[in-house]
């Protein structure tokens, strides 16, 4: 009898806990449901349709997997994917520069905070403002970069973002410049987690700076590097602001990337169904890399 009432009391208590818990997480759950979960399901459904939303809901036509078939033979889309692939090159480049800067700042200089703020500035600045500054710097005839190059005796400097051959490289350069700050800060945090006595032991054994880097610093930073590599790859799929402000995918599609192409298809050409099929491809790419990260991280424990 007594046990029964106690169990009942416990049940009541548990129900109260559940109610409290649900109330606390409710705002987040409602927000995520309406702004992320329903939209991602809708994106999958829309990718199976052809729809110019100006025509209203009646204009929606189900076309099955046609959109995906079209993507395979859409030169503009393939070109954008290829540009995304080229863009991946920025990741190891800014990681290497950031690691170098982090090591210099963490151990070898005075006025650490100055350097942290200085290299972090492009990351904190708005991409729009920074892009506009670079646009002027890259001005083919009057811009300071080409004036300097001509003064140095290079008669035909590239047209940078105006030149189809150099436009993507120019954007990659700006992107590297912006990304260094974030990567450097994460590397500095990684460096600070390395026990100092490892270096002392290495010094006693007579190891020089380079050996210490190869045998201690680099391997001890491997989990940080792995994290930065994954976030970097995912971020490279999402590049949009720089292109939207600087080139709008041009000249002659040389800087079109998957998100830009999606944006143009959806909001300029108003083909929402076709754009959604690109969204599905984008989602699949990011998902694939995230899953790959989980698998690798489980198998490969660093230290």
């Amino acid at each position: 009898m007594k046990a029964k009432t106690r169990a009942k009391g416990y049940m009541k208590l548990q129900r109260k806990e559940t109610l409290a818990g649900l109330l606390f997480v409710a705002p987040m759950l409602i927000g995520v449901t309406f702004l992320t979960l329903i939209p991602i399901i809708a994106a999958f459904l829309l990718s199976l349709s052809e729809w110019n939303f100006v025509a209203g809901w009646d204009g929606l036509k189900w076309v099955g997997l046609d959109n995906f078939q079209r993507l395979l033979s859409d030169d503009a889309f393939i070109k954008s994917l290829l540009n995304n692939a080229w863009f991946l090159l920025t990741v190891p480049i800014y990681m290497a520069i950031s690691m170098f800067l982090a090591i210099m700042i963490d151990r070898n200089v005075y006025a650490k905070s100055y350097f942290k703020v200085a290299f972090f500035m492009p990351y904190i600045s708005s991409v729009v403002a920074v892009a506009i500054v670079w646009q002027v710097l890259f001005h083919p005839s009057a811009g300071p970069i080409n004036q300097t190059l001509m003064a140095l005796g290079i008669d035909n400097p590239p047209g940078w973002i105006a030149d189809p051959k150099f436009a993507l490289v120019s954007i990659m350069m700006i992107s590297i410049w912006i990304s260094i700050g974030f990567n450097m800060i994460v590397y500095i945090a990684g460096l600070q987690a390395i026990p100092k006595d490892l270096y002392e032991a290495a010094s006693i054994d007579g190891a020089n700076g380079w050996r210490k880097f190869l045998n201690i610093t680099f391997p001890m930073l491997s989990s940080t590097s792995f994290f930065l590599l994954v976030t970097g790859i995912i971020a490279s799929f999402k590049v949009f602001d720089l292109i939207a402000v600087l080139t709008k995918g041009g000249p002659i599609r040389s800087t079109s990337m998957i998100v830009w192409h999606l944006y143009e298809t959806a909001f300029t050409n108003l083909k929402l169904g076709y754009a959604s099929s690109m969204a599905v491809v984008l989602f699949a790419c990011v998902l694939f890399i995230t899953l790959l990260q989980w698998v690798i991280q489980k198998k490969w424990v660093n230290y």
Binding site: L35, T36, A43, N108, K116, A129, I132, A189, D241
Partner: protein, 279 residues
């Protein structure tokens, strides 16, 4: 003794080299700043004049702030959107983080996994459905719509949850024995303990919202509602080839945030590092 001096000289030399590298790295900013002080005719003189010959500061910045396309309006819009987004996002994330870490209920872990998986979804993949939804429920082209888009952060929830988990369960239990509800425990005991973490997240959220370009571009139409990022771009288009004015515009776009960053420098850098190391 000698080795100490050698070590110190090495450090000084490296500091000087690094300083030179940092100046080279910051040249675009220096060029922007110096150009914003110039008259148009002297913008592209070569060799570059880092200190303007003819100062035109007041005129340039006057035009940006209160001229034909006055920035003060767009500052106000951006402050409104950024502050409200930050406040709502902190509240929603802190509540959810407490719920997921300090209240034991059955569905908790499942719900948390659902929230976490949405983190993998790039926002660009759901732009089209969000756009359609916003048109249907009249949130398109409104500040409220923009604020809601930034208010439900998985990252914030995850980050704050880590901190709530660091609070001893005994604190919570002793509160319960005293008959306090979860709301009282959250507000009186738990939240004050994680306040520094909330502050760090708040600064990051503020910076991200201030700098956001994509959402305002897609979800706002009316000029009067523009945030500063759209305003810089529009100002640039309007002023075509007036590079001194354009640079005054970009400086004005970056400066407020730079001040926030320098004040909250430690929190920002710690927040980034924390997010980075913990993944």
């Amino acid at each position: 003794m000698n080795s100490v001096i050698a070590e110190r000289t090495r450090k000084i030399v490296l500091t000087i080299i690094m300083f030179a590298i940092s100046i080279l790295f910051l040249l675009p900013f220096l060029w922007m700043l110096s150009t914003s002080f110039k008259i148009e005719a002297e913008v592209f003189t070569y060799p570059i004049e880092w200190l303007p010959k003819t100062w035109n500061v007041v005129e340039n910045y006057h035009e940006v702030w209160v001229g034909k396309f006055p920035f003060y309006k767009y500052y106000w819009n951006t402050i409104k959107v950024s502050v409200l987004t930050t406040l709502i996002s902190c509240a929603v994330s802190a509540l959810a983080a407490y719920g997921f870490s300090k209240i034991q209920f059955k569905a908790s872990s499942y719900l948390f996994i659902i929230v976490l998986t949405t983190y993998m979804i790039p926002q660009q993949a759901i732009l089209v459905p969000q756009f359609i939804l916003y048109r249907e429920i009249q949130l398109f082209d409104s500040h409220l719509g923009l604020i809601l888009l930034g208010s439900f952060s998985v990252l914030g929830t995850f980050m704050l949850r880590q901190f709530f988990m660091g609070i001893h369960q005994e604190f919570i239990e002793s509160g319960k024995i005293d008959g306090a509800s979860h709301w009282t425990i959250f507000w009186r005991i738990a939240f004050p303990l994680v306040r520094p973490a909330v502050a760090t997240y708040a600064i990051l959220r503020f910076i991200w919202t201030w700098n956001d370009y994509q959402n305002p571009l897609i979800f706002l139409r009316t000029d009067a509602l523009y945030t500063i990022q759209l305003a810089i771009q529009k100002f640039t288009t309007i002023n075509g080839e007036f590079y001194s004015l354009i640079m005054a515009g970009t400086v004005s776009g970056i400066l407020p945030l730079l001040i926030v960053f320098i004040i909250g420098q430690k929190s920002v850098i710690e927040g980034i590092a924390l997010g980075g190391v913990k993944g």
